[in-house]
C-alpha cells in the first residue's frame, strides 16, 4: 500500500505551523511573559528557542522523513530502525500515547471556542457583564456549576459532537485532501484574524479620558517593560523553556508523523525553520498584542495582573468576552476572537489524531477510512470522562502527563537517538539531503551536546520538582482522588494497548519476512 504525500511544500509547512499554533500562543504565552519579567522573559525564551526548539524541530523533521521512506509514520517504527534494539520500538509508543492523551481533553476545549464564536455572533454571550456572571456563564456551560445560564450540559455536548465530527472528517479525507487543505485555508485566515484583533487593540488609544494612565502605551509597557531581577530566578528559565516546548509542538510525536509524508528529495531545514518562524509570529507579535494589553486598558494594572494569574481558560473565555463587551462592535470582535481560537485549535487537534491513524495504516495495513473509523470510536469513548469529570481534576492529570512529562521524555529519547545512536555526522547529512539552506555548523555541536544536556537537565528538574507532588496528589481534594486514579488508569490502559499492538505488528512482520525468505 503506497503512502500518501503532501502535495505542496507550503502545505506541509502550514500543517506543521498549524499544529504548533494553538491556544497557547494567544493565551498562555502573554500571561507567562507578563508574570515572568516582561521583556526580560524573552532572554530565556529566545535562548530556549535557539538551543532547544529549533534543533528539536529539525531533529523531528529528519527522523520523520527517514521513517516515512521506510514505511513508518510513527515513532515505534522510526526508533526501531535507528536504534536497532528490540526495546526501542516500545520507547516509541510514547509518540502515539502522548498525542492521544492530549487529544482526549483538547478537543472538548476546542469545542468551547466554536460554541463561544456561535454565542458571540448570535448575541447570546453579551448578557453577562460582570466577571462573576461571565464565570457563571462558562461554569454553567461546561457543567461545573448549576445556574440560570444553562440548565444542562446538552449545548456543550452538541458543540463537542460537531467539533469531533469536523476533526475526523479532515482526517478521513487524508493528508493532502484533508489536513493540507485545512491548513492552507485555515492558517492564512487565522493570521488575518490575529492581525485584525491585534490592530484593534493597538489602536484603542486611551478609551477613558478620565483615566489617562490606562493607555495602549502603558498597556504595552505592562507586557514588555523588563524586570531584570527575574533573570536570576530559575523558575523563570523553566517557564520559558516549557513555553518553547508547548508552543512548537515538539516532543509530542506529531511532527514525526507529518514529516513521514515527505518525499526523499523534499527540503527539511528551511521548512522546519519556516514553520517555527510562523509560530513565533503568531506568538510573540500577535499573541502578546491582544489579551494582556486589552486587559490592562479595561481593568488597570492590578486587574490585568489578576487576569494573567487567573489561568488560560479564564483569560480566553471570561476576560476576553467582557473586554469585547466594552468596545464598539464587540460581539463581532468577540466572534472573530473565538473563531481564531477555534482555527488555532482544530489545526492542532487534527495533528494529534494523525499519529494513531498512521500507526494503524502503516503497521496494521488498514485503509485510511477504516483506521479513521476505528480510531474515531476509541477516541469518542475516551473523551467522555474528560467531558463529564472536568471539574474533578481528571483533565489536569491528563495534561500533566500528556502535555508536560511525556514531551520532555520523548524529546530526550529522540535527540539521543538522532545525535548519538544514528550519529551526528550521518544525521547532519540526512538533515541536509534536499535542503534549500545550509544550517550553520555550530548547530552540529548544539544538537550533539547542548540540546541533549538541556533536555536531561529539564527532565531532572521536572522529575525532582513536579513529579513527587503530582504522584502523591499533594493538595488534591480527597473527593477528587478517585478521578485522578481514573485518569491514570485510562493512560495506562491506552499505553498497554499500544504496547501490545506494537508487539503484534512486529511479530506479524517478522513472520511474513520469514515466509517470504
Amino acid at each position: 500500500m503506497a503512502r500518501e504525500h503532501w502535495s505542496t511544500r507550503i502545505g506541509v509547512i502550514m500543517a506543521v505551523a498549524g499544529s504548533a499554533v494553538g491556544l497557547g500562543n494567544f493565551l498562555r504565552f502573554p500571561a507567562k511573559a507578563t508574570l515572568n519579567g516582561g521583556g526580560a522573559f524573552m532572554v530565556p525564551y529566545f535562548v530556549a528557542l535557539l538551543l532547544l526548539g529549533i534543533p528539536l524541530m529539525w531533529i523531528e523533521w529528519t527522523i520523520g522523513r527517514m521513517g516515512g521512506l521506510r514505511g513508518h509514520g510513527t515513532a515505534p517504527g522510526m526508533f526501531d530502525d535507528i536504534g536497532k534494539r528490540s526495546f526501542m520500538k516500545y520507547l516509541g509508543t510514547i509518540g502515539i500515547l502522548g498525542p492521544f492523551v492530549i487529544l482526549i481533553y483538547y478537543m472538548y476545549i476546542e469545542s468551547w471556542a466554536l460554541a463561544y464564536a456561535w454565542f458571540s455572533f448570535s448575541g447570546a454571550l453579551f448578557t453577562p457583564e460582570a466577571v462573576a456572571d461571565m464565570k457563571g456563564f462558562l461554569y454553567g456551560y461546561i457543567g461545573v456549576a448549576q445556574n440560570g445560564f444553562f440548565s444542562s450540559l446538552a449545548p456543550a455536548y452538541l458543540f463537542f459532537i460537531v467539533t469531533f465530527l469536523l476533526n475526523f472528517y479532515f482526517i478521513y479525507k487524508g493528508i493532502s485532501g484533508g489536513i493540507e487543505k485545512l491548513s492552507r485555508i485555515g492558517m492564512p485566515i487565522l493570521i488575518l484574524l490575529g492581525v485584525m484583533l491585534a490592530a484593534r487593540v493597538l489602536t484603542l488609544g486611551t478609551p477613558d479620558p478620565a483615566q489617562p494612565e490606562l493607555s495602549i502605551g502603558n498597556a504595552l509597557g505592562f507586557v514588555w517593560n523588563p524586570d531584570f531581577s527575574k533573570l536570576l530566578d530559575a523558575k523563570v528559565w523553566m517557564e520559558a523553556t516549557g513555553q518553547i516546548f508547548f508552543t512548537l509542538s515538539v516532543g509530542i510525536g506529531v511532527i514525526l508523523t507529518y514529516a513521514s509524508y515527505l518525499k526523499k528529495e523534499d527540503d527539511l531545514a528551511l521548512s522546519g525553520l519556516t514553520s517555527s518562524a510562523t509560530n513565533e509570529f503568531c506568538e510573540v507579535i500577535l499573541g502578546a498584542s491582544i489579551v494582556i494589553p486589552a486587559a490592562f486598558i479595561f481593568f488597570g494594572s492590578q486587574g490585568a495582573l489578576e487576569v494573567a494569574q487567573s489561568g488560560t481558560f479564564n483569560l480566553g473565555f471570561v476576560t476576553m468576552p467582557l473586554i469585547f463587551g466594552k468596545i464598539p462592535m464587540g460581539p463581532i470582535f468577540a466572534g472573530l476572537w473565538f473563531l481564531l481560537l477555534f482555527i488555532a485549535a482544530i489545526t492542532s487537534s487534527v495533528s494529534l489524531i494523525q499519529p494513531a491513524v498512521s500507526f494503524l495504516e502503516d503497521e496494521f495495513r488498514m485503509t485510511r477510512e477504516r483506521a479513521t473509523v476505528v480510531l474515531g470510536a476509541v477516541a469518542f469513548a475516551a473523551c467522555q470522562p474528560a467531558i463529564f469529570f472536568l471539574g474533578q481534576g481528571f483533565v489536569d492529570e491528563l495534561d500533566f502527563w500528556g502535555g508536560t512529562m511525556f514531551l520532555v521524555i520523548f524529546a530526550t529519547i529522540e535527540t539521543i537517538l538522532f545525535a548519538w545512536v544514528l550519529g551526528i555526522d550521518k544525521a547532519w547529512d540526512e538533515l541536509h539531503e534536499g535542503s534549500a539552506i545550509r544550517i550553520p555548523r555550530i548547530y552540529k555541536f548544539i544538537m550533539k551536546y547542548i540540546t541533549p544536556a538541556y533536555l536531561l537537565g529539564l527532565l531532572g528538574v521536572y522529575a525532582w520538582q513536579m513529579l513527587p507532588d503530582v504522584l502523591m496528589m499533594k493538595g488534591v481534594d480527597a473527593a477528587n482522588k478517585p478521578y485522578i486514579w481514573g485518569a491514570r488508569a485510562l493512560i495506562l490502559s491506552i499505553w498497554a494497548a499500544i504496547t501490545v499492538m506494537v508487539a503484534i505488528a512486529w511479530k506479524r512482520r517478522s513472520r511474513s519476512a520469514r515466509e517470504q525468505a
Partner: protein
Amino acid sequence: MTISGMIFMALSWGVVLFLMYYSFSKLLGGK
C-alpha cells in the same frame, strides 16, 4: 512604556520578523 521596554519589544519583534523574512524569502525565491 519605558525605553528598555521599547528596546525589548523592538528586539523581540525584530528577531521574529527577521526569521519570517529570511525563511519566506528563501521559500518563495528558492527551488
